[in-house]
Structure formats: C-alpha cells, structure tokens
C-alpha cells in the first residue's frame, strides 16, 4: 500500500498530495473543484538529451537531433491499430503532448470520465509501438513542422541566441531536429530511447482535478507494471564562462529588424531549490530593471526605439540565461541602451522598486494557481524535484542585496550577446 503525504498551503487555499506508486512512479495531486480536470505524465527527457548511457553501460549512445520529439509523436500509435486521439475523443477530452529542451510531457484536460481518461493516458505512454511504416510516415508531418518553424522569425532568433550563448551546451540542439537528422530515425533508435528514458523512476504523474489519490493509484495498479529503477547518465560537458559569439544576424521576411540579447549565467544546479532560487533572483533583477514600471521600459517605449519589448529569466538543471527582445529599426542603438542600463544597474536598483516588484511577482503566482492546467506547471517543478507552491515562499525570502549582488556577477561584458533578424531588403 502506498502512503501519501499532504503538503498544505493555507494562505492560498491549496494543497498537494504526494505518493509513490509501487511501480516506482511518483505522483502529485492538486485537488481542484472545477468541472475540468488535467493530468500530465512525462519524463525528464528532451531535445538536449541526445548523448546518454545507463549506469553499467560502457559506451555513450549518440542519437540524431530531434529524437525525443519524434518519439513523442510516435507514442500516439498503438499496436492494435487503435487511435489514441479517438479514445480520448469519445469523452470529448482534449489531449496533447509537448517536447522541450529537457522534458517530454503528455497531458489531457477532460470534463467527464476522469479515471477512464487517466487510464488511456497511462496506457498509451507505457506501450510503445514503432514500426518502419509508422516511423517513416511521420517524416512528412514533422518535416512540415520543421518548415513551419523555419518561417517563424522569433523561433529562428531563439536558436540564434542559444548558439551565441553556448559552445558545447546541448541545450542549443533544435528540439524538432532538422529534415536531415530526422531522416536517420528508425524504430530501433526509438526503442533504445524509450527503454532508457521512459522508465517510471524517471517519470512523474501530476493531476489537478476533483479526484482522490486512491482513485489515481487504482488506475496505476491496473496499467503500470513494476519496474526496477534505472540510472541515466547524460554526457557531461564543460561550458566556458563567456558567450560563444557576441553577435549573429540573419535575413528573413520581417517588417523591421527584431533582436534578442542574451545574458549568460553559467550557474546551473541539479538541486531544484538552488536552481529555482537563482531563477527567482534573476527574474526579480530583470523585472526591476526592465519591467513596465521602470525607466528603461518607459524610455524605449516613448521614444519608439523598441516595440514589443520583453524580457525573461530562463533556468533549468543544465542552463541559465536572461534575454531581452523586441523590434527596432536601430538594433545597435537598442543594444547600446540595454548595455548602458546593465552597466549602471547598481545605481538604478532601488529597494523600494524591488519590494514593489516582489509583491507583484508573488501576487502573479497566486493568480496563476486558478488555472485548470496547473498540473502541467507542477509537472515541470516536480520532474526536477520541486514543488510549485514552494516557489511562493522562495520569492518571499529573496533580499534586495541578493539581487544587487547578482547584477554584479551577471552583467559583465563577456556574458552578453546580440542576435538580430533583419528584413530581406534594408
């Protein structure tokens, strides 16, 4: 019998029930009183994980780019020829999946028969069926998905940024791969990846619904077989402190230049709490400097120098960076303005602004707890060993000094890069 633990968060009326199924799968339930329920089931395996081995194996296996994503598409095939979408479709359930740099997640949102939907989810993800025919058929579909991405200037810019930031970090690998790399994919390769990464000890199930843990464990009992734990070793890499390239540009059909500047943070940690804390401090730092209540934003907006200005702090167990992006007819000038602000950060940062941004960030998190699909956000936290609601307390604990110190550490010339997509005709 599995035992559960309930973590309570009374200030936001939330709780998380945690359990470990005998199969080795760890499960989280966020009870919600909505008509819709959501479940997310997935693995810590994404676009960046193309070189790996299991503990005990001698050699690393090297996979072509895009395998994790290809595999995700092929999970929807079943040996008896039945259609997974059709099975969910009977209940009017919305089902989908995504692959990112570091995770693959299969999810559904339903308004009835939650338990039956959960059974379908666990069943199809735990039964791979790859044949030469069904693998080949996907070439055309994913080929068009790749082409669709090629027509998207923001996506092009994002990968330009990753290539400029990193020399060897595999996060720069294209999640969908290339037309050439996916041509090398065979059923054997997919089985190899599946058997490595879709081990239940490497997976998590998160649910946000009006249901009970007993109900969920009942479905797990029916569908999941016990699995011995497997330890995956990803090839380590050494990434230099400075950026790989200070500048890159490309021409595409856009109305005016669009840019993304990056700030490399060579801090990453396998420890979820450390990683999340870093990402929170970084997020607050960027918000105080570049948020809509700051001078920088107002100046570039009013002068019309930058449109659609945005910023972000992106952290995972194997990468960390901040980005600033927008459209501008003068990319160099916009970048100069950004660098000026970064250099002057110590003078610009004020405790009053920090405190206000902190209140707003915490409130924004509380607001997001209303989402039916919070199971998906919880999945991202829990797959790295954390708990989404703990983030609130972490935000509360961040001090102004930490933010100031991070500015010192991060904002150095050799951490910065500019990437621009320019119109075909200047």
């Amino acid at each position: 019998m599995s035992t559960f633990e309930t973590k309570k968060y009374p200030s936001i009326d939330e709780q998380v029930i945690c359990a470990k199924h005998r199969s080795g799968l760890k499960i989280k339930l966020i009870p919600k009183k909505f008509s819709s329920g959501c479940a997310a089931f997935g693995t810590r395996y994404g676009g960046k994980d193309s070189v790996f081995k299991l503990e005990g194996e001698k050699e690393f296996t090297v996979m072509p780019e895009g395998v994790a994503h290809y595999l995700e598409h092929k999970m929807f095939e079943n040996e008896d020829g039945s259609d997974t979408f059709e099975k969910f479709g009977r209940y009017g359930t919305y089902a989908n999946a995504y692959t990112s740099h570091d995770v693959t997640c299969y999810h559904f949102t339903s308004t009835n028969h939650f338990t039956d939907n959960l059974r379908i989810l666990l069943d199809y993800v735990s039964h791979p069926y790859y044949t030469k025919e069904n693998v080949d058929k996907e070439q055309g579909i994913i080929g068009q998905e790749i082409k669709m991405g090629d027509d998207n200037p923001s996506r092009a810019l994002y990968y330009m940024l990753l290539n400029s930031l990193y020399e060897s970090n595999p996060v720069k690998t294209k999640v969908v791969g290339t037309v050439e790399s996916i041509a090398q994919i065979t059923p054997e390769l997919l089985y190899k990846c599946y058997n490595t990464f879709y081990n239940l000890s490497n997976m998590r199930l998160c649910v946000s619904a009006d249901t009970t843990m007993e109900e969920i464990l009942g479905v797990c009992d029916e569908v999941l077989k016990d699995q011995p734990e497997k330890k995956i070793i990803r090839r380590s890499f050494v990434e230099k402190d400075e950026v790989n390239s200070k500048y890159s540009e490309k021409k595409m059909s856009v109305s005016k230049p669009i840019f993304i500047a990056g700030i490399k943070d060579n801090f990453y940690s396998d420890d979820y709490n450390e990683m999340t804390r870093r990402s929170i401090v970084s997020d607050l730092l960027m918000t105080v400097l570049f948020g809509q209540s700051g001078d920088f934003y107002q100046e570039v907006y009013e002068s019309g120098l930058i449109n659609d200005f945005g910023y972000g702090a992106n952290y995972s167990d194997a990468y960390g960076f901040c980005d600033l992006s927008g459209k501008t007819s003068e990319p160099e000038k916009a970048y100069e303005k950004i660098v000026e602000c970064l250099k002057d950060a110590k003078n610009i940062l004020k405790a009053e602004d920090f405190n206000r941004c902190k209140i707003a960030s915490i409130a924004s998190l509380v607001k997001s707890c209303d989402a039916v699909g919070i199971a998906q956000a919880e999945f991202r936290s829990t797959i790295f060993g954390g708990e989404i609601f703990d983030t609130l307390e972490m935000y509360r604990n961040v001090t102004f000094d930490e933010v100031v110190n991070l500015a010192d550490e991060l904002f150095q010339e050799n951490h910065l890069t500019l990437n621009v997509v320019k119109p075909l005709k200047d």
């Binding site: 008509s35 979408f85 009977r90 209940y91 027509d151 595409m252 948020g291 209140i359």
Partner: protein
C-alpha cells in the same frame, strides 16, 4: 448565480457570482457600428488613455499603482464582432482573502477604471500630442509587423479578399496609411462618441458586492450625456457566391500557407436547433484531433503538420488553414475539398458524430472553469439574444442527427482560395 441590470439606455451590468477563483475579473465592453474610416481612431482610444489619466498622469505611475495593488492587471483590446467594433477594458485582481495586508485592492482597481473612462489626460481639449504620436507609431509598426506571423497573415489576407465589400473585411486597426494620418482630435472625437453612443456591457465575474458596483457604474455613466440608439449587432452573410476568388501571393516562406474561405450560411444567431448541427459538423470536418482533416490530410497523407477548420460565427463564414510544402499545394487543396465533399455526401460515422458531440459539450462545460471564458460565453449570448443557461445548448447538441449535419454542410459554398508561397513554387 447571474444578474443583469440596466444602468441606463444601452448600458448593462452583468454579474456572474463564482467563488471557485482567487481572483475577480471585470470586463467593460464598448460596441459601435463599424465605420471603416473610424476603425483606427477607435483602436487608439485605450492605448492613448492608459498612458495617462488625471490621477495617474504617467504610464509609469499607473503601472506602479497596479503592482502595489497586488499585480492587478489593466489591459484593453480592440476588435470587430459582427457589424460592430468592440473595445474592451479588462482588469483581473486578487480577492481580499488572498491579500496579506490591509490594501483595498478592489477599490483601488475601481478608482483606476473610473479614471481611465472619465478622466484621461487632456491638453487643449484633446489628447496629448506626444502620447498620440507615440501610440500612432507603435500601432503602425505593429500593423507592419503582421507579416512576421505568416499563418495569421495568410488568414487576414484571405478574409480581406473574401470580404472586400463588407465592412467586416476591413482591418480592425485600419491600414498603415490610415494609422499614420490619425490625429489626436480624431481619436478624442471617437472617445467622446464612444461614451455617448456605444452599447456598453459591463461584466464582473467572481465574488463582489453587486449593489456597490452597480452604484459605482451608475455614478460613472450618469456623468455622460448619452445619445444611444439601438443597432443590429450581428448580420451574417446570406448572399450566394457568384464567383470563386483565387489569390496567390509571394513571400519568402519555407512552407506555403493555405487558407480557404467558405460561406456557411449558419451563424450563432440561428436557433440552437439550427446552429448545433453545424457546430457538431465543423468538429467532425476539421476542428478536433479526431477530425477528417487531421486524420486524412495530416495522418494518412502526411501532407502537413496542421490542417484545421474554424468559423467566424457572427458572419457565417468557415475557414480551413494548413501549412504545406509548395509542391503539394494542389494535392492538399484537393484533399481538403474531398473531405468537405465527404461531409456533404454524408460519409460520416456514428462514432464521429458521438465524438464530435462529446467534444462540443466538453468545450462548453470547460468554458465555465475560466472567468474570462464565463464572461465571453455570457457576452456572446447577449449579442445573439439567447439565455445564459448552457444546458439549453448542451441539450441541442445531444439531439443533433446525421441528416441535420449533412443538410447544413450541403449549403457550404467555396468563396476564396488563398495561398502564400515561397521562392521555389511555380
């Protein structure tokens, strides 16, 4: 529980009480009959006003206040709905029980809304020239940038070609030329006109004191000299197609973007008994992942990554969109029309109908798990003169028969074919 109460001619307050959320949502909708030459001025009203009001003279101060109000949001949108332009002011704010101190967030948000509606910052009886200049430039840039999102761009081009004579076909923001010649006086004139002539529907969803809000809005709008005349909101297209339009345009795209426009002769104004069969049919044809378009054009023929249908219900229009390789243009087009033909011939299984019904019902039920979803539902019902109760709609969905679906789809007429292609195409 829902309440709807008249504030004055053409102004109503709608309250949907729901205590499942941590936030309350307010949405104030202003509708005026489309006058294409006024589209731009109307599009600029809220961008200009939210840049400064009497009590919050700069956008920075306004944003700071919103942050201190626990990240309350204030945003606006401008669009077309049926024969009207629709300008909406939205705010979402935390409920008192989730606020850690004695900040009165709700009152704070009400003050801001009042200021934005009644007390914009003026200079010589019109909006400030500098502010208008900035917003004109921002909007023109954003209109130019519509080329960056190829899929969306293709849809807009198709609609424009399809409805060259209908006011609905004209861009909601006007053209770049319209935007660049817009003056402060024109925007101010439309602001005054909107307050005096618009149909105004105010929605509050969450938990508030209805009487307090009723009095608040009554006080606001009693300060305005109203000259409201009731106008039709939804007039779907009822003319038959006399000549199919074919438009192919060149751009630097790696993948062709196909959009096919049809007249459906069915709108959300129709009785549920007429409307529900079309919704179920549309789902079977192309709007779900068990749809004919998905299963055939993508899964069986591997021609694309996405191929789906959607409707502009107010106008009685149906569209199919897909991203396909240039060399597969004809093949994809034929495959899409073949599936439409199958709908008309009644090549539809009971299983498809059951799935589509579950899907349509599920979507309706799920709408009520989001405050914005609840507001959109109620708003649409007001526009088409139907009661808020979703059970009436769900019952009609359940009664749909195959014969009704076929009868609806037999009426569908091809109107416009649009293809955005790249260099190597014929």
């Amino acid at each position: 529980m829902t309440r709807r109460k008249k504030i004055s001619d053409g102004i109503y307050l709608n309250y949907i009480e729901d205590n499942r959320f941590k936030v309350n949502a307010v949405s104030i909708k202003f509708m005026l009959p489309i006058q294409t030459e006024k589209n731009t001025s109307r599009a600029l009203i809220f961008p200009v006003i939210t840049r400064g009001t009497v009590h919050y003279p700069t956008e920075k101060e306004l944003n700071k206040t919103l942050e201190l109000l626990y990240c309350s949001s204030l945003n606006y949108s401008h669009s077309k709905i049926g024969d009207m332009t629709l300008d909406t002011l939205n705010s979402v704010f935390l409920r008192d029980k989730y606020i850690q101190d004695d900040t009165d967030v709700e009152t704070g948000v009400m003050k801001i809304l009042e200021d934005v509606i009644l007390h914009p910052l003026l200079e010589n009886n019109t909006f400030k020239t500098d502010t208008v200049k900035t917003e004109v430039k921002q909007l023109a840039d954003s209109e130019r940038a519509s080329i960056n999102n190829k899929g969306r761009y293709a849809i807009n081009r198709c609609i424009r070609n399809m409805l060259s004579e209908d006011p609905f076909g004209y861009p909601a923001n006007g053209t770049v030329e319209d935007i660049e010649k817009t003056t402060s006086e024109q925007i101010y004139e439309q602001y005054i006109y909107m307050l005096s002539h618009a149909r105004i529907e105010i929605f509050i969803a969450g938990v508030v004191d209805f009487d307090r809000h009723f009095k608040f809005y009554k006080d606001i709008f009693s300060q305005i000299d109203r000259q409201y005349e009731e106008k039709t909101v939804v007039t779907p297209i009822t003319d038959h197609v006399t000549e199919v339009k074919k438009v192919r345009e060149k751009d630097d795209v790696a993948q062709g973007k196909m959009v096919i426009g049809f007249r459906s002769f069915c709108s959300n104004k129709d009785d549920y008994e007429d409307y529900a069969p079309y919704v179920v049919g549309l789902n079977i044809f192309g709007s779900g992942s068990t749809s004919k378009l998905f299963n055939n054009v993508r899964e069986k023929m591997s021609l694309c990554y996405y191929c789906s249908s959607f409707s502009v219900y107010e106008k009685g229009l149906m569209f199919v969109q897909s991203g396909v390789a240039m060399e597969n243009e004809e093949k994809a087009y034929n495959a899409i029309l073949d599936q439409l033909e199958n709908m008309k011939k009644g090549d539809i299984t009971e299983g498809e109908i059951e799935n589509a019904k579950s899907d349509a019902i599920s979507e309706t039920v799920a709408t009520f798990d989001y405050l914005q979803g609840i507001i959109s539902w109620c708003f649409e019902k007001i526009l088409v003169g139907k009661p808020f109760d979703s059970q009436l709609y769900i019952d009609s969905i359940n009664r749909v028969t195959k014969e009704q679906i076929v009868e609806k789809f037999k009426k569908v007429e091809l109107d416009t074919y649009y293809f955005l292609y790249g260099g190597e195409s014929k």
